[in-house]
């Protein structure tokens, strides 16, 4: 990273001022990659993409236990046949829509974690989502999330300017809310442009605006402080993104909304913004009735979207820098219901697409005969996945962020 340090020195000489460090939107492109990194530390170059599968993804029909009679007995109407699953080994096959994930598996890039959950599972979408977002199951109404607290820590370090962005989310996900950190939420690039009256300096463009919006004290948790932080974050992100050009890529993205969001992430990565954590959601997994066609469509969107996204990044030379992780608030009951669907369950499977080499099976498969209230018992605490991503991938202190020590898994070196 000496290049960065040289660039930094040159940049400071060029501007003649250290205060320029805080005005991210005005930095020249060559500088911005370095801007996020601590000197001498190559780890901080890494990017994490979190994909939320909202609604409760049916893990058993996603990673199919093809040799398990209990599975086929419990799901006479909706089981995925052994013949149609994309076989990974004698025990498991992927849902037939997941051809892209299957290719990642073959390339040693798909790290599957089985039996992920938490004690005393909650079957409410909202509560369980809050638990996954906050990583604080003991907290009845959590106020911060695991990514938000990570940003609080990284941004309090002197030279660590890593940022996060929530792409296509209609509201700020709790996961990304810190005590101070409040990453921008960008639904669509075209909506993220400030309308301005040309040649005028009104409203946000008034030279008096920033004097009227003072930076809040770190400890100030009032609504006004929240709104001031949000306004400042938003203006700075809007000015960064003004430079984002719609660049051509040979990677063919599908037409889905999910793929559109991933494409925006790829553009932001290409523009070398200091954003290092991207958060994106694919919704509609609450498959209570007639689930086969809808679930197949969703998984295809997931698989095709990720395939296009990662081949785009590969073309840009970012394969070693990017890790994609998925989660859902819960899996679904082992037994199908009376409407050819499945009701809210608990422990389930999650996927990570990692740089080549560490693909494989992690966690442990839960039993389908020894159930708790109709659901498999979890084998692997979800905070072990977060600990892996924090400690090993982003190199942030997982124990502090998660308020406890959870053994990382081996899918990151």
């Amino acid at each position: 990273m000496t290049d960065c340090q040289t660039t930094r020195r040159e940049f400071l000489r060029w501007t003649g001022s250290a205060t320029a460090l805080s005005v991210g939107g005005l930095l020249p492109q060559v500088w911005s990659r370095c801007q996020a990194a601590e000197p001498g530390d190559s780890i901080n170059d890494r990017i994490l993409v979190v994909v939320q599968l909202a609604g409760g993804n049916d893990g058993l029909n996603t990673l199919v236990p093809i040799d398990n009679d209990d599975y086929y007995k419990a799901r006479p109407g909706i089981a995925i046949g052994k013949g149609s699953a994309l076989k990974l080994n004698d025990r498991l096959g992927l849902h037939p829509s997941l051809t892209g994930l299957r290719e990642f598996w073959d390339a040693g890039r798909l790290a599957i974690v089985e039996g992920v959950g938490y004690p005393q599972p909650d079957r409410s979408h909202f509560r369980s989502m809050d638990i996954w977002h906050s990583a604080q199951p003991q907290e009845p109404s959590p106020q911060t999330g695991w990514i938000g607290r990570s940003l609080d820590i990284s941004q309090s370090r002197q030279n660590d300017r890593r940022e996060a962005a929530c792409i296509g989310m209609e509201k700020q996900p709790l996961a990304c809310i810190g005590n101070v950190a409040l990453p921008p939420t960008i639904q669509r690039l075209e909506d993220f442009r400030l309308k301005q009256t040309p040649g005028q300096s009104q409203g946000l463009n008034s030279p008096r605006w920033s004097a009227a919006v003072p930076k809040p004290e770190t400890v100030d948790a009032s609504d006004l402080a929240f709104l001031r932080r949000a306004s400042q974050t938003t203006l700075s992100a809007a000015r960064q993104l003004e430079r984002l050009v719609d660049q051509q890529t040979s990677s063919q993205y599908p037409t889905s909304e999910f793929a559109r969001k991933l494409r925006l992430i790829s553009q932001m990565i290409a523009a070398d913004l200091p954003t290092r954590i991207y958060y994106v959601s694919l919704d509609g997994f609450d498959t209570h009735s007639q689930q086969l066609p809808g679930h197949a469509t969703l998984l295809r969107e997931l698989s095709e979207g990720l395939t296009a996204f990662l081949s785009d990044l590969e073309e840009q030379g970012h394969t070693q820098r990017v890790l994609v992780t998925t989660f859902s608030e819960f899996g679904r009951r082992v037994a199908e219901n009376g409407s050819l669907g499945t009701d809210h369950g608990s422990a389930s499977v999650l996927f990570n697409v990692v740089p080549p080499g560490r693909g494989g099976l992690y966690g442990a498969p839960p039993s389908l005969s020894d159930l708790e209230d109709g659901d498999p018992k979890f084998t692997t605490d979800f905070r072990r996945v977060y600990a892996t991503l924090l400690d090993h991938w982003l190199q942030l202190p997982a124990t502090e962020i998660l308020s406890g020590t959870y053994a990382p898994l081996d899918f990151v070196a």
Binding site: D122, R123, S124, H125, F126, R127, P140, C166, M169, E170, K171, Q172, P184, T185, I186, Q187, R188, D191, F192, R193, L194, K195, Q196, T197, Q202, G203, L204, S206, R208, W209, A211, A212, V213, P214, D223, L224, F226, L227, R228, A230, S231, T233, T234, A237, A238, H288, S289, N337, G338, S339, D343, D373
Partner: protein, 427 residues
């Protein structure tokens, strides 16, 4: 105890909470009438003007004729902005949020309209009557799969949300209570566009709910829920978050929950007591709510907009995350800080810029805001009172820089500055 004064600041605070946007003339009227008479007017049915009635009828007929939910949104927005009963409309929205049902699944304008009329009819009436009506409401039967709840295949969707979101809240029932309640609601179906008790699909065997056992049917489950102590507390949270503060304290919840029990779930006297109390006007309750998109958008249109292009408004509201008749989930709109993220802030700013400068959304009439020439008035109207010294100083500077011979031009420039301030997002 009643507040010691009820001047423009207090009237403005009250009106911002009970209706969508405030016109300066309405503040004058409230101050002249005094608090008690204002509340009496707000909480009793006022006659609607002939013009309102004919517009309302025309918009309703259009929506039913086209079957397009966008037309029904416009019908409701016009009511919100022009009805002589603005609190009834705000309560209707409160109940729409409480029993959040989406046209995305119901796919019927007549059903969404009928459900909306329920919310309006029962607005400040008895909550139990509303709950019972909603449980048999066709839109709700479709929305939460009542139709799919059959004797041998119970569907838990409605039973779960009745407890989690309509009456008790998480932590006040067990999974077992839900499974049993689902059986009690089995056979609550829809036929010929109306509620139908389908006896052949009803599970009439005994159920045990909250420790009581009986051959319960759905309506008895609703009464069991209403009899739980958690229900009044849960409803207290809803009323407080709709009218008083985004983050009710334990003590506010306890007081309001007592009021609800005391008035046997009759909403009007509960609200009257809340709004007559000095606590409602005390500092912690001022600027204690983040404006919803409706509060923000109609807040600009009510005092300033004429000849409104409603299609533009419905699009903006949808983009801002408050799409009437299409809440994001059965949990409704979470409100408070959930309204605010970068994209919605940019959209709020852009809406204000476009509205104030382009005439594309409505014709802007600044007559009512001539007093904005005084910084103190501007602070009262737009920022809820005098801000911190640094902000106040910035405003004074901005005012000096925006003097203009054309007073309407200056007002618009100043409004642009005010609505871009974080304080303006609060009410």
């Amino acid at each position: 105890m009643k507040p010691s004064t009820f001047g423009p600041a207090e009237a403005f605070h009250l009106l911002k909470r009970v209706q969508f946007g405030v016109h300066p003339a309405e503040v004058d009227l409230a101050v002249r009438e005094g608090l008690d008479n204002t509340l009496e007017r707000l909480l009793s049915q006022q006659p609607e003007s002939a013009e309102f009635q004919s517009t309302d009828q025309a918009l309703r007929t259009t929506a039913l004729a086209t079957g397009n939910i966008q037309d029904l949104k416009i019908w409701w927005l016009v009511r919100m902005l022009t009805s002589a009963n603005p609190l009834r409309e705000k309560l209707a929205l409160g109940w729409h949020n409480h029993f959040a049902t989406s046209h995305a699944k119901v796919q019927s304008v007549p059903f969404m309209l009928a459900q909306n009329e329920l919310f309006r009819t029962h607005a400040w009436g008895e909550f139990p009557a509303l709950l019972h009506a909603v449980a048999r409401d066709p839109a709700m039967l479709i929305w939460l799969d009542g139709n799919a709840n059959r004797k041998r295949h119970p569907n838990e969707n409605f039973a779960r949300e009745v407890m989690e979101l309509f009456t008790l809240g998480i932590g006040h029932y067990s999974e077992h209570d839900i499974q049993e309640a689902a059986r009690a609601f089995s056979g609550w179906h829809l036929r010929d566009k109306a509620f139908w008790f389908n006896a052949t699909q009803h599970d009439a065997t005994p159920k045990t709910i909250f420790g009581h056992t009986g051959n319960y049917i759905g309506s008895e489950v609703l009464d069991l829920c209403l009899a739980q102590p958690a229900c009044a507390q849960f409803l207290a949270g809803r009323l407080l978050r709709t009218f008083v503060t985004d983050r009710p304290t334990q003590s506010q919840l306890a007081t309001t929950s007592q009021l609800i029990t005391q008035h046997r779930y009759h909403i009007a006297p509960v609200l009257r007591t809340i709004f007559r109390d000095e606590e409602f006007f005390a500092a912690p309750q001022r600027q204690a709510m983040i404006k919803s998109p409706l509060d923000y958008v109609l807040g600009l249109l009510r005092p300033l907009g004429e000849q409104i292009h409603w299609r533009r408004v419905t699009t903006v509201l949808a983009n801002l995350g408050q799409d009437l008749f299409e809440p994001p989930s059965v949990k409704g709109w979470e409100g408070g800080r959930h309204w605010i993220q970068s994209t919605s802030l940019i959209l709020r700013w852009n809406f204000a810029t476009e509205f104030l400068t382009s005439q594309q959304i409505a014709k802007v009439n600044t007559e009512a805001f001539s007093s904005l020439s005084e910084v103190a008035d501007a602070e009262l109207w737009c920022l809820g009172g005098t801000p911190e010294p640094q902000v106040h100083a910035a405003l004074q500077q901005e005012w000096q820089n925006t003097t203009s011979a054309d007073s309407s031009h200056a007002t618009i420039q100043r409004l642009q500055f005010l609505v871009a301030l974080p304080e303006y997002q609060l009410m």
